[in-house]
């Protein structure tokens, strides 16, 4: 450890020069000119997590990125409505969710659907070898869940929110969070089993043809 030794050698001393370069008044310090915007900084810090949530929720990276971009625009336009910056993450997820609902309605009118295969391929490749086929089955199963079930599973398992935080974010009672989550997990299990059965059945058919 390079620094363990250094710490012992250097007791904290007055190593910084004072005098002309020292600023005793915040207003006179150059940093006061270059101050960054706390909302913008907090927003940027939330973007990696928001993008993950969006992609998992919609099952398509291109659409998720469009939604996050729209979400940034909307958040910047409505930032005065956010009273507590500590609530930024749930506030952004709510905005994103509503944008997605609007997008679903538009797509229904146009009759276009997203393809889950690309995301399943990408995440399958990212997963460690023992987990990659399970990852693919999971992504497909999650895509077949209804929106409520998908959302609550992601909030608990990926975003790691508490039940209380989820109740506040979705504006539903705590009991509803618990019962919805139980149903979502049961449904995911059924779908995972059916995905596995399909994979086995396809493999059997292929083997019998050979």
């Amino acid at each position: 450890m390079r620094y363990a030794e250094t710490v012992q050698c250097h007791e904290a001393g007055p190593l910084l020069q004072t005098g002309p370069t020292a600023y005793h008044d915040d207003a006179a310090r150059p940093s006061a000119i270059a101050m960054s915007d706390p909302f913008a900084d907090a927003l940027v810090a939330q973007l990696p997590g928001l993008r993950r949530y969006a992609t998992a929720l919609v099952g398509n990276r291109a659409l998720a990125d469009d939604l996050v971009q729209d979400c940034i625009e909307r958040a910047l336009g409505q930032q005065t409505q956010l009273r507590d910056v500590a609530r930024l993450a749930p506030w952004l997820r709510r905005i994103l969710y509503h944008l997605y609902i609007d997008e679903i309605r538009r797509r229904k009118r146009r009759g276009s659907e997203c393809d889950i295969s690309e995301l399943a391929d990408q995440l399958e490749l990212s997963a460690p070898a023992p987990d990659n086929s399970a990852t693919r089955e999971l992504i497909r199963a999650v895509d077949r869940l209804n929106m409520e079930h998908r959302q609550i599973l992601l909030l608990v398992s990926v975003e790691e929110l508490s039940y209380r935080e989820i109740a506040d974010e979705l504006e539903i009672p705590l009991g509803t969070v618990m019962s919805r989550l139980a149903r979502a997990r049961e449904r995911l299990r059924e779908l995972m089993q059916s995905e596995t059965a399909q994979v086995i059945s396809l493999a059997d058919r292929k083997a019998s043809r050979e």
Binding site: T21, R29, R51, R52, L123, R189
Partner: protein, 243 residues
């Protein structure tokens, strides 16, 4: 299935999520010990939960499009009024006659900030003023602000088990040094930005690197850590630095 009926599905899921009170946890554990089928079912749910977390985790590790970061900062920054701009211009004119003025007002020259950071990390305290960690937190913040010439502070990474060990001060940059839970070194190199924005994560010289740059500061984080840990440390560092 008496145990299941007595406990209920919602209790089981709350148990999986660590949301049960101690008394109910004991009741669930007792039921699981007595009912292997129930224990197997809970294990499957736990495996699904872990797989969900692991499967989607890489999605947060992709570099953000730089235009998102630029957009967030561009629109959110409050417009300066002309009086403030004039005051700043006057202040710059007053101090422009001294060499020190340029040191503080000029953006850092564009070079590879990542190489700079890695060289600093490799050289350790050589060529730098070093402030070892003690209890005078304010002193480090002041020193950091003077060198970087921006309103930044030493981020507190103790939530992730990283202890602040000291601060290396260079001419126009600083390296904040942390020691991780398994004695691993994590460094945060900070200097003035050249005005462009950048966010990226990659490996270089055997280290995981994250560069997070806005139009004010460049930060280069380096450590022998996983991408997922870097993602969390980077977020905590950047928000702590600029909060």
């Amino acid at each position: 299935m008496n145990n299941l009926n007595a406990i209920g599905d919602e209790d089981l899921h709350a148990y999986i999520d660590g949301a049960l009170g101690e008394e109910r946890v004991a009741a669930v554990r007792d039921a699981l010990a007595k009912d292997p089928a129930l224990a197997a079912r809970v294990a499957l749910f736990q495996a699904d939960k872990a797989l969900l977390k692991a499967a989607y985790a890489p999605l947060a590790e992709h570099p953000l499009p730089s235009e998102w970061i630029a957009r967030a900062h561009k629109k959110a920054r409050p417009q300066r009024d002309w009086r403030r701009a004039a005051a700043i211009a006057a202040a710059i004119l007053v101090v422009a006659g001294t060499p020190l003025a340029w040191r503080y007002y000029a953006p850092a020259k564009s070079g590879d900030v990542v190489e700079e950071a890695l060289n600093a990390r490799q050289d350790g305290a050589q060529g730098a003023h070093y402030l070892a960690a003690n209890d005078q937190a304010r002193r480090y913040d002041t020193a950091l602000r003077q060198v970087v010439a921006s309103n930044v502070r030493i981020p507190d990474l103790s939530r992730m088990g990283y202890k602040f060990r000291g601060l290396n001060l260079y001419d126009k940059a600083a390296e904040i040094v942390y020691q991780g839970p398994r004695d691993q070194l994590f460094t945060l190199y900070v200097r003035r930005s050249d005005g462009s924005t950048r966010f990226d994560q990659f490996e270089r010289r055997g280290l995981r690197i994250c560069i997070w740059q806005d139009d004010q500061i460049s930060t280069v984080m380096a450590g022998n850590i996983s991408a997922a840990v870097m993602q969390r440390l980077a977020t905590l560092s950047y928000t702590g630095l600029t909060s």
